[in-house]
């Protein structure tokens, strides 16, 4: 009891510190290879600043008992939704920032740009965890009806922000939210039969959509074809046949060249032969894999795996289900982003714009991940260990 405030997970901190150092080191080696338009940018220094700011945020978050987050959850959700709606309506136009054909940023005078979708990920975890915790406290007698009700509530809060992010368009960001929701549903306490029932219904609906598209020509299938399938098709071809579809496969070809040519041991420090766009952000893994080969790349993946392992550990240890829910949400976030980011650069998944947690340069994203770690550390620090358990 008395050491509850000193129950700090130093292993997790060590992992994050190692990842941070890897990020700074990678940015340092990339610097000479960046296109001329970034000549005036010192990404290394800026990323260092974000890490420092993030550490301060972690410290502040640690001071508050995570149980009290629930009191402000709905407020935060409101702020998050408002931000996303502002982006959707491009209002006020003065602070809307567009890049790579996506309207995903606010531009704050003197501070640079901020990406609400990144910070919203935290809110997403908070709101679902809050819903699940309140629900389970209220409906002690679990029935199919209560399970469905919980599912419906989770969907009600999850789908609107996902839709708003998807239309920015930021497919990657939307999928991260989906992954968070999915991971949390798994631990929500909804019973397997209900879960499989829901899954079955969803699969049938998708089946119907495909059947409509194939068998019934007409406005619906046209809508599906133009709005959905064409986009998917283009990504799909760019993924499977990158050489033949240079428009959508261009980045993949370059990423594969960079990673593949790193081979087992890498080309050595600061040796990069392949130009890959966005090397300092989404494609930072290619820089590591090219310089340090399979050995260096595996080291990074194992580091990430240890991170997840450590978080699972925290989630299991926590004696409050709310804490477990929170950590699970972040596991869903990290696991998906890591898998998607690395997977897309080695042709496991189609390319989607998504940063690699902790390594990619980026203010909003780095702060988001550090805050997530802050909450995980908070949960761990307030986990009571009982000698008899």
């Amino acid at each position: 009891m008395k050491n509850q405030n000193t129950n700090i997970d130093y292993t997790l901190i060590l992992i994050v510190v190692l990842l941070g150092l890897t990020s700074l080191f990678a940015l340092y080696t990339i610097d000479p290879y960046l296109p001329a338009k970034y000549d005036n940018q010192n990404f290394l220094l800026k990323q260092g600043q974000w890490y420092i700011i993030g550490s301060i945020l972690i410290f502040i978050l640690m001071l508050i008992d995570y149980d009290r987050f629930r009191q402000v959850t709905w407020v935060l959700y409101g702020i998050g939704m408002t931000s996303l709606l502002m982006l959707f309506f491009r209002f006020p136009a003065g602070i809307i920032h567009e890049a790579n054909n996506a309207v995903s940023w606010f531009i704050l005078p003197g501070m640079g740009t901020i990406q609400p979708a990144e910070l919203y990920k935290i809110v997403h975890v908070l709101i679902i965890a809050h819903l699940m915790f309140s629900h389970n406290k209220k409906y002690v007698n679990q029935t199919t009806k209560t399970d469905l009700w919980l599912f419906a509530k989770i969907m009600l809060v999850s789908l609107p922000p996902m839709a708003l992010i998807a239309v920015q368009p930021d497919l990657g960001g939307m999928l991260v939210l989906a992954s968070i929701t999915g991971a949390m549903l798994l631990v929500s306490g909804i019973r397997w039969r209900v879960m499989f029932g829901i899954l079955g219904v969803v699969l049938v609906l998708i089946g119907i959509a495909v059947a409509v598209w194939i068998f019934i020509p007409g406005p619906i299938s046209e809508f599906l074809e133009e709005g959905v399938f064409n986009h998917i098709k283009s990504r799909f071809y760019g993924w499977i046949y990158p050489e033949q579809y240079p428009d959508s496969g261009y980045q993949l070809v370059l990423a594969m060249l960079a990673i593949g040519s790193g081979q087992l041991g890498g080309k050595g420090l600061s040796t990069m032969e392949v130009y890959v766009p966005e090397k300092h952000t989404d494609m930072i893994f290619t820089a590591i894999a090219e310089q340090f080969g399979f050995i260096g790349a595996s080291f990074v993946i194992i580091l990430f795996f240890l991170l997840i392992y450590r978080m699972i550990h925290v989630a299991i240890l926590s004696n409050e289900s709310y804490g477990s829910y929170l950590v699970t949400g972040f596991i869903g976030m990290f696991a998906y982003q890591i898998f998607q980011n690395i997977g897309m650069s080695i042709q496991l998944l189609p390319i989607t714009g998504l940063p690699l947690p902790f390594l990619s340069y980026g203010g909003s994203s780095t702060l988001t991940y550090l805050m997530a770690i802050g909450i995980v550390l908070n949960v761990h620090s307030r986990t009571k260990t009982f000698m008899f358990e």
């Binding site: 370059l254 993946i301 990430f304 795996f305 392992y309 299991i316 596991i331 042709q347």
Partner: protein, 715 residues
């Protein structure tokens, strides 16, 4: 109860977390496995791919070979120019080129500043599409917004682009400033450049300041280079130009109809090649060897290293047989004579437009001067039309009688010294045939000296098999191939065949049908009134007679010289063009000498057709005149009867060193100016005058100047 439930719920959490952990473990395992496949199994392939794509060779054009006349005066030269070139790297997009164009427009001006007409033309060359493409690049978002997603989904990318261009409003592109036009003009050039191939953006009127400014800012202008380019320069202007020919501009590139030919020989589509005349004929010698540079490019498309793998070499130089001083004189003579003939009898000679002359060395076939002048009746101006000596064919008249007489000897229908009575021949049908006057009895010498038609008719009749013609009879041939037989002899002199001249095209004359039902045509053939010949063919014919029966190929090229880096110096001889004997006429030497003697008498002995013009000349000339009846259609469609005057000859008789052929087609029937003789004598006068001047001039100067030209000649 409550607690138990809660406990149960809590206890399922670790289990489900373990499932989650297991899923994450699987996903990460897949990552590691796939990473192993990409990096360890296929890693070498990717490395090979990188190594493969980073090296590229660029061929850099070298200056063309020059052309000299036989006395090493430059007649086709290279003028070096400051030049701004653009060599795009792989994967350069339109936006990148626009950026380069915008930057470059700060340093160079494309619009002409002092030539209003040119400036207007340049502004006009910026098409609506050029303006729209520029607007599109500058306002891509707006342009894209004008295309709804539904529309876009139905269109191919090219259609989308076209539609977006179509939707740009006229007023949006109407008021572009000169600065913008500069950018568009530059970008138009940049767009033409194939990747890794230098393309000239501007090489006309590049000022030293522009050159310096661009050179200073090369690092801001990816792909741009400030170099020196060359342009073709012809110091003698129009003289002999129709034979020198011309080369294509960089915009024209290699001619479309010979694209395959050039591409398989290592040319690039924007290479400048000879498109006519000797520039085309000797393209392979003049082109030189391009410098080949191996560029190492990274995947970014940036050139990181360049290495010369094949040293470039300027094209080899051509030394032509032409004597430019003489050529200019001949041009002048032909022009003056043509104008005189027209001015003396403007109405009679209203059909007269051209005068053509070929002068060559009969022993070697070296062409010394080839001249043709054309009088434009609309503009009342004379201009160069030398190509007509090779392209255009005319009825020559009696000039070819030497060939007829030799055909007579060799076919055995006449013997040396054979006499025929020259009086009108009467036939069952048609008008009697006659010589210009009744000459009475003539032998073979006199037949040539006085130009007897009747003599030639008799030869033709006998070749046809009709030995016993009496006045009023029909011509009755027993030989079924009389035309073929006669042409067989004529061809040996080059009359009716290719002369083999080193020029991309030559006419070989009209060959009339061998119609046995009109045997009179064979008689016409015998006096040069049936088949037509080019001036060049006549020149080869008279050379063959002068050269004791050896038919040599007329040629412009005398020797090929290796290129040198020294200015105004000649390189060592690479190849000397040898005299090319195409055939030796299969005729007795003694018979040939009889024809030569007949030619001599025509010029030198009283009664000869050229006697009054040639008798007093210090050089002993021999030759044959010709007058042919021809017709010409006037602009109003009316056909007029005209005459062609021709003349072939050589000098000196004993040891011929110069032969010539001239044709002045379509003089009026009542023309009384013997332009063929005045032209012929003036040309040979000029030839010997220049020769003498050179000989005395050389002795005067020999000590004073030791020019390299003379050294070369002495070699």
């Amino acid at each position: 109860m409550v607690d138990r439930k809660k406990k149960a719920k809590k206890s399922q959490l670790p289990f489900r977390l373990n499932i989650l952990f297991f899923v994450v473990f699987l996903l990460f395992s897949v990552l590691i496995i796939q990473l192993g496949v990409v990096q360890i199994l296929n890693g070498q392939e990717f490395q090979d791919e990188i190594d493969r794509t980073i090296e590229d060779t660029t061929k850099i054009p070298v200056p063309r070979g020059k052309m000299y006349d036989r006395h090493y005066n430059v007649i086709a030269d290279n003028k070096s120019l400051y030049s701004i070139t653009y060599t795009p790297a792989k994967g350069v997009q339109a936006v990148d080129r626009l950026k380069v164009a915008e930057d470059l427009s700060k340093y160079i001006k494309m619009l002409s500043e002092d030539d209003e007409e040119k400036r207007a033309k340049q502004i006009k060359s910026v098409s609506e599409r050029d303006r729209k493409e520029y607007w599109y690049l500058k306002n891509e978002d707006i342009a894209k917004d004008r295309l709804t997603e539904e529309e876009a989904a139905e269109m191919k990318p090219a259609e989308q682009y076209q539609t977006m261009l179509d939707r740009i409003k006229d007023e949006e592109i109407a008021h572009y400033s000169d600065e913008v036009l500069e950018v568009i003009l530059i970008k138009k050039e940049l767009d033409k450049a194939p990747y890794l191939t230098p393309h000239v953006v501007k090489n006309e009127d590049v000022t030293p300041e522009e050159y310096a400014r661009v050179a200073e800012h090369l690092d801001e202008l990816p792909g741009v280079n400030a170099t020196t380019d060359w342009d073709r320069d012809y110091p003698f202007d129009s003289t002999f130009r129709s034979f020198i020919g011309s080369i294509t501009s960089q915009d024209e590139g290699i001619p479309a109809d010979k694209e395959q030919f050039y591409l398989t020989r290592g040319y690039r589509p924007n290479d400048r090649v000879g498109k006519s005349g000797l520039e085309e004929q000797y393209e392979s010698i003049l082109r030189g060897r391009k410098e080949q540079v191996l560029y190492t490019t990274n995947k970014d498309g940036k050139v990181v290293d360049s290495e010369v793998i094949v040293e470039g070499e300027r094209g080899k130089d051509l030394v032509l047989a032409i004597d430019m001083e003489f050529q200019e004189r001949v041009d002048q003579i032909v022009r003056e004579e043509l104008e005189t003939a027209i001015n003396e009898q403007p109405y009679v000679n209203r059909t007269l437009e051209d005068a053509l002359a070929v002068v060559l060395n009969p022993n070697t076939g070296e062409l010394l001067a080839v001249s043709g002048q054309h009088y434009d009746r609309g503009e009342k101006k004379t201009s160069d039309a030398a190509y007509k000596t090779v392209y255009n064919q005319y009825l020559p008249g009696s000039a070819i009688k030497g060939a007829t007489v030799l055909a007579g000897y060799e076919s055995g229908v006449i013997t040396p010294g054979q006499v025929f009575i020259d009086k009108p021949m009467k036939f069952a049908v048609g008008a009697p045939k006659r010589s210009w006057i009744n000459l009475g009895p003539v032998n073979d010498y006199q037949a040539l000296q006085k130009s007897s038609n009747i003599y030639m008719y008799n030869i033709a009749m006998r070749i046809g098999g009709d030995y016993h013609h009496k006045d009023g009879d029909n011509i009755s041939f027993t030989n079924t191939t009389p035309f073929e037989d006669m042409r067989h002899y004529f061809w040996q002199f080059g009359l009716g065949t290719k002369t083999g001249i080193d020029f991309p095209y030559e006419g070989t004359g009209y060959v009339g049908p061998s119609n046995l039902r009109q045997p009179g045509l064979l008689l016409d053939y015998a006096i040069g009134q049936y088949d037509t010949y080019t001036t060049m063919q006549l020149a080869q014919y008279v050379s063959t007679i002068a050269n004791d029966g050896y038919r040599v190929r007329p040629h412009f090229l005398k020797e090929v010289r290796e290129p040198t880096t020294e200015e105004d110096q000649l390189g060592p001889v690479y190849e000397t063009i040898q005299t090319d004997v195409l055939n030796k006429v299969v005729m007795e030497q003694s018979n040939l000498e009889r024809v030569q003697e007949g030619f001599r008498r025509a010029f030198q002995d009283q009664g000869g057709t050229g006697y009054s013009y040639w008798r007093n000349k210090p050089y002993q000339a021999a030759g044959k005149t010709g007058t042919a009846e021809s017709i010409k259609q006037m602009d109003d469609g009316e056909w007029l009867e005209t005459i062609n005057l021709s003349l072939v000859g050589y000098a000196p008789f004993d040891d011929p060193e110069v032969a010539f052929a001239l044709i002045v087609p379509h003089l009026g029937e009542d023309n009384d100016y013997s332009i063929n003789h005045t032209m012929g004598t003036r040309i040979l006068d000029a030839y010997f005058e220049i020769k003498e001047k050179r000989q005395t001039g050389n002795t005067d100067q020999q000590d004073a100047t030791q020019s390299s030209d003379q050294d070369e000649e002495n070699n």
